[in-house]
Symmetry: C2
């Protein structure tokens, strides 16, 4: 017993010393990651190139083709084992020339002509001729149903619903507005509406209009649909109070074309010990066709690239196989994510983890995750290593749209969790430009991802 | 025993129900505070006025006089019991006309003339004639001492020390650079330097120069002192590598005048139950004489005003006496804070708490505090009420410069703790303008302060 007892104590001491040494080594390497990213990082310059030399890059567009080539060359220059393009079928839709919209209303005996700030929703149909009709304002899908065909037919439905400012996580506020953008136009068509306007899904009160996908119900008529800026929506609502019969004139020139082939860009860096265990990190290369897609999701793209660059520059050799994936078409059907998961499954690849950055290049606060209890315990064990960098969110629930199709019992999914207050000021609008991204905040995000990838690569998740 | 036991159980149940009901009531009122501030707040408009109609407002300037009047009228309009001006003696210094600086260096056989982005340090002396001399670059006060008179005399000392990017709390990084700005010019003069340049105390690499107070040692010669933008500092350092003998020409036109009287603006809202227990909240109304003083500390000013407005609009009646104080001259000697504490002490006022917002109008993360153990326990008990609003920092150590002179054994001091990543991109530079403040982030800060003030007012701190 004595011998066993001593052996046990010795084992415990050795374990704890090993664990301590290991933890010290991890902390030192994580410090090196942050130091390199913050002093010698290149992601901000990459973002500048992506935003200014390519600009917005809707899936299906020529700009997206350019972005794919740029991503391929940028990753190749860092020198992973291979970079390849994975074909993805994507929609091809264009908004055509700038949207035309105006209305005239009477107030205090005067006529006022207004040209509101407005942007077609992604996927909207256009019309050959302008549509002119009265406007009926509603706050919800339920209110629409109550008005029914008698109240809606022949009119333009205007969903004027603000996001809930009391949801401090603005993503939750956005989630609350999402059904109206997705289903609103088709639900309006159900009752005979001729077009649909929505208040932009933003917490800002400014004059930027925010687009985003709408999903038509194929069993109903497809009517033109557009988002008004918050300011324009408030103004229209006021105008309707003065003149309920005002006529809104809308002419969208959107066109849908046959689907086409574009590509996920995949960089692969082979593991030296467990090459058959994959860790995928990425963001989406496509953006909406406004602004520059700087926060959504240029930030996630250049951060993902930076992870590879940083680890390579630090002389790291991964134990597991790390993939950087620049997904194509998250915004308009998630084709890149679905295709990637299908191809991986068909090839029998085993993912142990995937991580996405798609919340904008803001100050990182931590990670959301979709993990088993055992995986979460491993993850939360790294908290002391990550907390000194301001990472305090280790929240179960949510990861990223592109990586979600990889979900199965074994893979651990993560999302970079960032400060959310400004995101929906920029998101899907002409305001999502390079100048709205702060260099240090962007870099801290890149370093945070690299740190977690390093820990997963070193220790696995179970 | 049975009766006592029952009574004790009953008491426990009542206590816990009372505590629960109390906590529920607190949560509901805190929710009302956030809702009002985020939907009907006026602090963003106030900040616009302060920045655009008054602009920067160095203590001693006419703009500061205007800001004092504006603050007085704005507070009076909200209707506290009284608003009064408290005289404060402040320095009066002007930078005079725009700084003149240039240098010529030779590289690869060519002469290059450079006009670097530069700003005089606050309190710097000027000179009748331009100063032209060689430049000696150092990284620290220690390096300066090593070079000594032999290496320094007759030259312009250039402190080219970057802030440490690895300090994730940028306030700590700033603190590390602070001694050079404060003491550098006098220490350079100790060894015979004719002028002093420093690299701006910023983590950004851009071309904004950042001013701030320097403190001359009265026993040494006073030499002109200025800060170069980070970009200009790097360029000068490169130029010196090509041409160590380059000559820098600097002409500052700064002037010091006799001290004058300005005012702290104090709004007082009398307590209904404990009127002799004071809670002071505030920020500083003065700014440096560049930019618009939007984050530093226009944000803290309009947030403090907003607290009063919100609580009044919600029909709140304070138990204790709440004071909103717009302090004058934090930046250049803390005269407002010192005077306020002296006047309160002379009048025998008992403060139970003071809170300052002076970290910029960024996303609030919580509060720093200087509290006794008992006070801290009370404070941390409110964590469940505050955490739903993203407040997760409840850190002991640090509050605010203006309120620090109030410190004694009884008063609890608090500082609003915000995301720090962008602050030193703007701080004390022409980049600290209204456009850099996000409406929602500013409002969340105001609501967070109001929430804590409400809890302190309701429950005291011990």
């Amino acid at each position: 017993m004595k011998t066993i007892g001593f052996g046990w104590i010795l084992w415990m001491v050795m374990q704890s010393q090993w664990a301590f040494a290991q933890s010290e080594g991890d902390s030192a390497f994580v410090a090196a990651i942050y130091s390199h990213t913050l002093t010698a990082g290149h992601c901000y310059e990459d973002l500048h190139h992506l935003c200014k030399n390519i600009g917005h890059r809707l899936a299906g567009s020529e700009a997206a083709d350019k972005a794919i080539l740029w991503g391929q060359h940028t990753l190749q220059a860092i020198g992973p084992d291979r970079v390849f393009l994975m074909p993805v079928e994507v929609p091809h839709w264009t908004r055509g020339p700038r949207e035309e919209a105006r209305y005239i209303y009477r107030a205090e005996g005067m006529e006022h002509e207004v040209f509101p700030s407005l942007v077609a929703l992604g996927g909207s149909v256009g019309s050959d001729l302008p549509i002119e009709a009265e406007v009926v304002e509603v706050k919800s899908l339920e209110e629409l149903a109550v008005l029914g065909r008698a109240g809606i037919e022949g009119k333009i439905v205007f969903f004027n619903k603000s996001l809930d400012p009391m949801l401090i996580n603005t993503g939750a506020a956005y989630g609350g507005g999402y059904p109206i953008r997705g289903k609103g136009p088709s639900e309006a068509a159900r009752y005979g509406a001729v077009a649909c306007l929505i208040r932009s899904l933003t917490l800002s009160g400014d004059d930027y209009a925010h687009t985003g996908a709408t999903q038509y119900n194929d069993s109903l008529a497809k009517i033109p649909a557009a988002a008004l800026s918050a300011k324009a929506a408030s103004a229209l609502s006021e105008a309707l109070k003065s003149d309920a019969k005002l006529r809104f004139n809308l002419h969208l020139h959107c066109q849908a074309y046959p689907r086409k082939t574009q590509y996920n860009v995949v960089a692969e860096w082979r593991g030296t010990r467990y090459p058959d265990e994959y860790i995928t990190i990425g963001g989406h290369l496509d953006s909406w066709d406004v602004g520059e897609g700087a926060h959504d999701d240029g930030a996630g793209i250049v951060q993902s690239i930076e992870v590879l660059r940083t680890l390579k520059n630090l002389g790291y050799r991964p134990l597991r196989t790390i993939r950087i994936v620049l997904f194509i078409n998250e915004e308009f059907g998630n084709d890149g994510g679905e295709t990637y998961a299908s191809v991986c499954k068909a090839a029998g690849l085993t993912h142990i983890a995937a991580l996405e950055s798609d919340g904008g290049g803001f100050t990182p606060r931590g990670f959301s995750c979709e993990l088993s209890d055992v995986q979460y315990e491993r993850f939360i064990g790294w908290r002391p290593i990550l907390e000194p960098y301001g990472l305090h969110v280790f929240r179960r629930g949510g990861s990223g749209v592109d990586i979600r199709p990889l979900r199965d019992d074994r893979v651990g999914l993560f999302g970079l969790s960032v400060d959310t207050q400004r995101y929906f000021d920029y998101h899907h609008s002409n305001n999502d430009v390079f100048e709205q991204v702060n260099k240090r905040e962007l870099e801290l995000g890149a370093a945070s991802i690299a740190a977690l990838v390093y820990l997963i690569d070193q220790h696995g998740l179970q």
